[in-house]
């Protein structure tokens, strides 16, 4: 049961049940949709960029506890961050959930660290990273729908 408890930490369950920033952002100037055909998870990310800074960010969609909590905590974390900081966080987050501890600099992860248990469940990595991939597409501005497959 230990690895299950590591995966479904209280913070993840909480954000999965009551996602933050779960709404359409009227003033968004960047959006993208992400999709996981394997399980049917869908997410739409809305970003309002002010110059190089994420002024506001929100999401809509449906998914499992891991993907919903990941999107929720991502939006909380990224408010006020620059684009470069967001990119760097994604890199670190990706190393965390794929278990690449050697490369990991967890110092800046904050709440995102609750996703460390995902590395024991390789099949769930896509759930945790869907919103991040979608964010990247939104920031790159190509607006192409993202698919995990």
């Amino acid at each position: 049961m230990t690895d299950l408890q590591d995966l479904y930490q209280e913070l993840i369950l909480d954000h999965g049940r009551r996602p933050r920033n779960f709404r359409r952002l009227q003033d968004a100037n960047r959006t993208a949709e992400g999709y996981n055909p394997l399980c049917g998870d869908k997410v739409k990310i809305f970003v309002q960029m002010d110059g190089d800074v994420v002024k506001d960010i929100s999401f809509e969609g449906s998914g499992c506890a891991i993907s919903t909590a990941s999107a929720s905590i991502m939006t909380e974390t990224l408010k006020g961050k620059t684009r470069a900081e967001a990119e760097a966080l994604f890199e670190t987050f990706h190393d965390l959930v794929t278990g690449q501890k050697a490369k990991l600099d967890a110092s800046d992860l904050g709440k995102l660290e609750v996703f460390s248990g995902v590395s024991e469940f390789p099949i769930r990595v896509k759930c945790a990273t869907l919103s991040w991939h979608t964010l990247r597409s939104a920031l790159n501005g190509n607006g192409e729908p993202v698919s995990t497959e």
Partner: protein, 422 residues
């Protein structure tokens, strides 16, 4: 809930007619632990497990008879050809086709449907014509027809289902008209377990002159198929869902239709003579079997059919039905759980949603209990939309499953609820 004594009596009666524990010995894969718990395999609608006799048949072919078929004069080729063609006759008898030339070996149900859409469909469907399917189709019985309709300027129509997951026959019949060229539908739904009333559907379709293709992927392992009695024009099933190997399937077609159809793929074995000016095609069934086929898989399918015949499909189905009734009753008793697919005529599929928990999370937690189920849209996204859900958790049963395993599933679902405080 039944009283314990009743449950025990049921089990005793069960044990006399159908010795599940002995049968499980035939399946080497079931003797293992997953995450330190005995494996409970409830993902049979995705693929079924293989008895030792099937594994032995394919190994025997590779270790003592391996060679190409229909072309060598040497003894190995003769042996391989014999076994390959024996499997065709076994398949013919398995679904009671009139002749073995009506049995075309394919990679599986998907390829069989694509063959019909490409060969029969392209020669029969024109602009303004219609192809009729149902809401409960697997993507493999939607997309080939979409491609065909797009190419031909034809219209793909979809017959609706009710909240129980049953085809609404009156609506289906209203959609039939003189432009309907092909009706293609599933015999047993993979996501819901619904058994479709094929006899009536086929009769109605024939009345307007439409040909009927049946996707029998889920039916072959669970029910006796009689294509002559059904009077369907095409019927397809997959080896791997009927306890045989992957990569082998069967397309049945009425000889008269297959004869008139153009080839699907060109290559070796499907010709009788080739010059650069003109090629004459081989006779049935070889016209539709271009290239070296999956010989080992075909022989394995033959062994799987032998196994099913030996055990008795009716007995297997009766045991599965008992498990289904038992499981449906227990699952329905779990607060917050809703079964998706509650048709009166139903095969051994328990598809469900759990309030407040996504199926993917259900699947991960059950996996830690050693229980393998499928979670997701089951390649039936339009069907999920019909029920307004993104996905379900699906436990699909086979004759080697037991009531004890269903008890563990139920305990596992309670554990899921505990983790999520749902």
């Amino acid at each position: 809930m039944k009283a314990t004594s009743e449950v025990l009596a049921d089990r005793a009666a069960d044990a006399v007619s159908f010795d599940v524990q002995a049968i499980r010995e035939d399946f080497p894969i079931l003797r293992q632990e997953v995450h330190g718990k005995p494996l409970i395999y409830l993902d049979n609608a995705a693929t079924s497990q293989k008895p030792a006799s099937v594994l032995e048949a394919t190994t025997r072919y590779y270790s003592s008879d391996n060679s190409n078929i229909h072309r060598g004069v040497h003894v190995l080729s003769q042996r391989a050809t014999e076994q390959y063609e024996e499997a065709r006759v076994k398949s013919q008898r398995f679904i009671n086709a009139a002749g073995s030339e009506e049995i075309i070996f394919t990679r599986g149900t998907t390829e069989a449907i694509n063959l019909v859409a490409n060969s029969f469909g392209r020669s029969r469907v024109a602009a303004g014509d219609e192809v009729l399917i149902t809401t409960m189709e697997h993507h493999s019985n939607i997309v080939p027809w979409q491609i065909l309709c797009e190419e031909k300027g034809a219209r793909l129509r979809v017959a609706p289902i009710n909240d129980e997951g049953e085809l609404i026959l009156e609506e289906f019949e209203k959609l039939l008209n003189e432009r309907t060229r092909i009706v293609s539908l599933v015999h047993i739904s993979n996501a819901l377990g619904t058994i479709n009333p094929l006899r009536r559907v086929i009769e109605s379709a024939h009345r307007v002159g439409a040909a009927v293709m049946v996707d029998g992927a889920q039916a072959a392992p669970h029910t006796r198929i009689n294509v002559q009695e059904l009077d369907c024009d095409f019927y397809a099933f997959s080896g791997h869902k009927v306890y045989g190997p992957t990569g082998i399937g069967v397309l049945y077609g009425k000889a008269r239709l297959l004869d008139a159809m153009p080839p699907y793929q060109g290559g070796g074995d499907m010709i009788s003579s080739v010059t650069f000016e003109k090629t004459t095609y081989n006779t049935l069934p070889y016209k539709f079997e271009a290239g070296t086929p999956n010989i080992a898989g075909t022989i394995g399918l033959g062994a799987a059919i032998d196994y099913v015949n030996q055990l008795g499909l009716e007995k297997m189905a009766a045991h599965e039905h008992e498990l289904l009734t038992y499981g449906a009753e227990l699952l329905t008793g779990i607060p917050g759980l809703r079964l998706i697919g509650t048709a009166k005529e139903k095969a051994a599929v328990l598809s469900f949603v759990l309030e407040g928990v996504h199926p993917h999370d259900v699947g991960t937690i059950l996996d830690r209990e050693g229980i393998a189920i499928r979670t997701g849209h089951h390649c039936t996204m339009p069907l999920m939309d019909r029920f307004g859900i993104p996905a379900t958790s699906r436990a699909s049963l086979a004759f080697y499953n037991t009531k004890e395993e269903i008890d563990v599933l139920v305990a596992g679902i309670h554990k899921v609820k505990e983790v999520f405080s749902a």
